[in-house]
Symmetry: D2
Subunit: 331 residues, 4 copies
């Protein structure tokens, strides 16, 4: 039953962010039963917590039951080292609180995505910067002092088109490595250009089909992997369909303002969501629905974001690593 497709409406823009799905749902109704949300500002960072509490909430916003934390940092794109360090720290704090690791928890970090497609390369780029220790614990048990956990990491997608599903690779590795916790890192699609390379989502509900820039076919979650799965993602693209849809809405709302009220009703009744979505499909048809919108400087943004996440993970997974040390061991 858990393998059913996400509940998101077929006629609305796609988002991998629970906070946006919630926002979208609230455009129709102020309150969504089964979903709660609160947020706070910490300096330049807005931290929001979206809770999908039951199946009703899940159906309404199309995101699984679970907790979703969003760090929105509009200034992150300006490449400010001090702000980046602060975001690493806050991200580490939130991840630690959510994951509630034991001192001896064994963690496997999975970097999803294809390193050959720049906006999808976030996961692999985080993995290559992690401080992994599992081989040290196995072969030189005394090499590390207190405060280090057993961390291993894998980027199944750097393996390229291999004829093997990412989930098959991850399942096989989990069976052999037997981690207590899996943390999956992935590049996401947002509904809003404002969040591209400027937000981090942490979730305790795993990774689900159709999510991420690379659109996974199978879930990575407690059911499929047999252990807790946390998902960390950063939006790096917006779907072209979302942009097209927004452009149509913008034109229609402009018209709406300039046309006498009673005519509008008549005019726009053809443009229910299905109708509009049909126009979007028609527009993008030559290249199917697999079109991403991404800034030209995507390579620099991805490198910076990978650094921020990797530093945060190194701090969150190894209590012995301080913020200063994270800057040294992460590269």
């Amino acid at each position: 039953m858990d393998n059913q497709p996400p509940v998101e409406s077929t006629y609305s823009p796609h988002t991998d962010m629970a906070i946006e799905a919630h926002e979208l749902a609230r455009q129709a109704r102020e309150i969504i039963r089964g979903v709660s949300e609160e947020s706070e500002e910490v300096g330049d960072v807005r931290i929001s917590r979206t809770h999908v509490m039951n199946k009703n909430g899940e159906r309404e916003i199309g995101k699984r039951v679970g907790h979703y934390i969003t760090l929105d940092v509009p200034k992150l794109r300006r490449r400010n080292p001090a702000l980046q360090a602060e975001v690493s720290r806050l991200f580490a704090e939130e991840l630690k609180r959510m994951a509630d690791l034991k001192p001896d928890s064994k963690i496997l970090v999975v970097g999803l995505g294809n390193e050959h497609v720049t906006p999808d390369a976030l996961g692999p780029k985080v993995v290559e910067r992690l401080f992994v220790t599992r081989h040290l614990f196995n072969y030189m048990p005394d090499a590390l002092g207190e405060g280090f956990r057993t961390v291993s990491a894998v980027s199944p997608g750097v393996l390229g088109v291999t004829g093997i599903e990412t989930s098959e690779i991850v399942e096989g590795i989990v069976e052999n490595v037997q981690p207590d916790v899996v943390i999956a890192i992935d590049a996401l699609a947002s509904m809003s250009l404002n969040r591209v390379n400027a937000s981090i989502q942490i979730a305790d509900s795993g990774i689900h089909p159709g999510s991420g820039v690379g659109n996974h076919r199978k879930a990575l979650n407690q059911e499929t992997l047999g252990c807790k799965v946390f998902a960390v993602g950063v939006p790096t693209v917006v779907h072209a369909a979302t942009i097209a849809n927004d452009a149509m809405d913008l034109v229609l709302s402009q018209l709406d303002e300039s046309v006498p009220g009673n005519e509008t009703t008549k005019l726009f009744k053809n443009f229910n969501p299905q109708e509009k979505w049909k126009l979007v499909q028609e527009l993008l048809e030559p290249l199917g629905n697999n079109l991403m919108v991404t800034p030209k400087e995507v390579d620099e943004f991805i490198d910076d974001t990978a650094e921020v996440l990797a530093k945060g993970l190194n701090m969150a997974l190894h209590p012995a690593i301080t913020a200063e040390e994270a800057a040294q061991v992460t590269h």
Copy 2:
């Protein structure tokens, strides 16, 4: 005078393809003075020749005086080795005819673009597959038999953000290498999703500011480099602004059909190009005008296209290389 910005209207979608700029201009008037075009079908390939004959043509379509050949191959995206080989051959034929190389012409191939941003990596990927010979002629003059020209190649953009303009690097190299002909390879922006990774443009007018996915700041042409400069490009992206603009047009034309004639005039008069363009800017504002639309499988398309161009170049530049040998020496 040649450094004036391209003449393309500020309120219309951007395209690096002369054939599209011509098409766009003809939406207003059937015939554009100073521009001629003819085309033919060769199997699955449509070959069009657009000639910008004088300054009037240049002003009208925003492309420099010169000859532009377009190979449109919609089936190229289906990854058919036989068709790819045929396109390499046709491309080599057209390039040879246009460049009119002497048996002892010295050629420098310049692969423009940033290898770290997948849709901009075409130039560097072509360069690394070329059969370069200049060092052989210099150090082992008898190593090669008849039918090979002196070919060198450089990818200035793989150097990343280095604080040096691409044109400064190319100018310096041209002064030292003293080629008779420069061939610049670049990833282009098209106005149409149909052409993405499915068309090749060859031009004898060089590379100009604002063209290409990476948007060059200075021209590479006869004036700046002191030798003939041919430009070879493949569209790998469409600007997000183009998609947004198309979406707006589509909605407006749908409305146009469903509304009684005389009301339309009133309704749409607000939506002149400038007005529409202001809406597009507003929509894309958070990430500026540097947004590209690109398919998710961009890495495979770029690899395939680079192979097609490199094989064609190896055949066009070295008469001794046959189609079979091009398949062997290109990798």
Copy 3:
């Protein structure tokens, strides 16, 4: 019992090639019981077949019971496309004969080695050039005609230091992919500079601890993976210890010639293999025994060799692919 270390003497140069291990053993005795060998010349290629027939042979030469085919092609380093094509063809022939695949055999190719260390990058570079089909058979069963087998491929070592053993990753994938046959590609250490980038070894005995440039810790063979495992390797390095040892031998043999017979005995009695090996260790001590000798142009050799192997594999695994097509689909 099968996990015992290879039987190779501790005091002799290391080689991953059965033909060299046999040669070495025959320096002491003309005939090694349990090992047979025959060879033939095919144009510029010498094909040798070394059979380790029983445990005695295994003990004597330090290579597992099994069949080892060696293609020696001294001219391969001169980068001749015609010879490369011929070697691809011969390699495909030999691999097909040895592997004896059924029309519906499912094959997993494993590219061993670390892509970040040039001479160890052979496996990953072969994998990225393969024509993989498993995903096509799974999702579009009618996409391919007759003559294609289900091929998947993985390069576990591109992950670098991840805290996970290569064998753990491969075992996990094999459990999920359930191939009938595994073909492991690896860069090897030779005892002779003559074979570096100029020989191919095909074996039906799998991959064993301590073999390959990267020195695997666990075996990949029928016992550990539950299916037939063929190993394909090309020597890309010689151990520095081998070079040092050879240098000592050369000096001693020069001395031997220039010194009156009866004094030599006295002189050289200190230099039994153990003694000499101690000197080698002393010499290389600062960097341990992990020193490789490799030519400066290693990057070009590795690219060429990967191309030769990938073309051969594409032909051997897919009967429908001809030599001409292999040149087209391999890149």
Copy 4:
């Protein structure tokens, strides 16, 4: 005249380090006229200063007139972040003192070497981590505050085999960029395994033919580039010929101890340097003299060393960057 080959003896091991060339010369005579050297210990780092004062010194040790600073850090290979930070700091100090930059000096950093051959990739890997500013000063003069110099950087060798000499590319760029100072980074060959990835050499005499892992054909120095050229290098390989030569010496010295004195003279007279070198050539003949010895973990060492140099350069070139900030901006 300056283009004459380096004066180093043809029959002795090759080294790119002045300190080793001096050491080698002193094996024959205690004092080398025209060369002076002093050294000091700073924690785990030994800093030596070798001064080649005149043409006599140049002839004797085969290194150009100039100053050579060597930082020997045997513990650097153990990957200790605190020690790495300290070495960055000391390197920055020494470079600043030698280069004596003005507040408004314009610097071009040239990363020599081939990124596709791991031990030769040091230069490109340093360049990609530098904080370059020239484009900021050109396009946004107010973006940076006090304490930043105009820095540009280029890695001509990442262009691979392009038919163009590295020196031709660098000369062309220097003509266009007009720097006051060039700093060239290169991977070196040492004579001693102890120094591999454990030493840094800084010199004010430029880069000369035959030096570096990639063996440049033309000089990069004041004469060829028209500005001061500093060279920064780290030994990443030992030539195989050096190892072979050392192995021969070791055997001979062992024999020397075990044979009665007067016989030795007779025995070893055949082994003058020329004779020994002939044996070395014979041994390595199949792959010519282009064989490098390098540790298997070369990728990790190169990454670490590039980080150390880049941090040091960022501090030395921009007075405004502190050690803490260098850790943030270098990646």
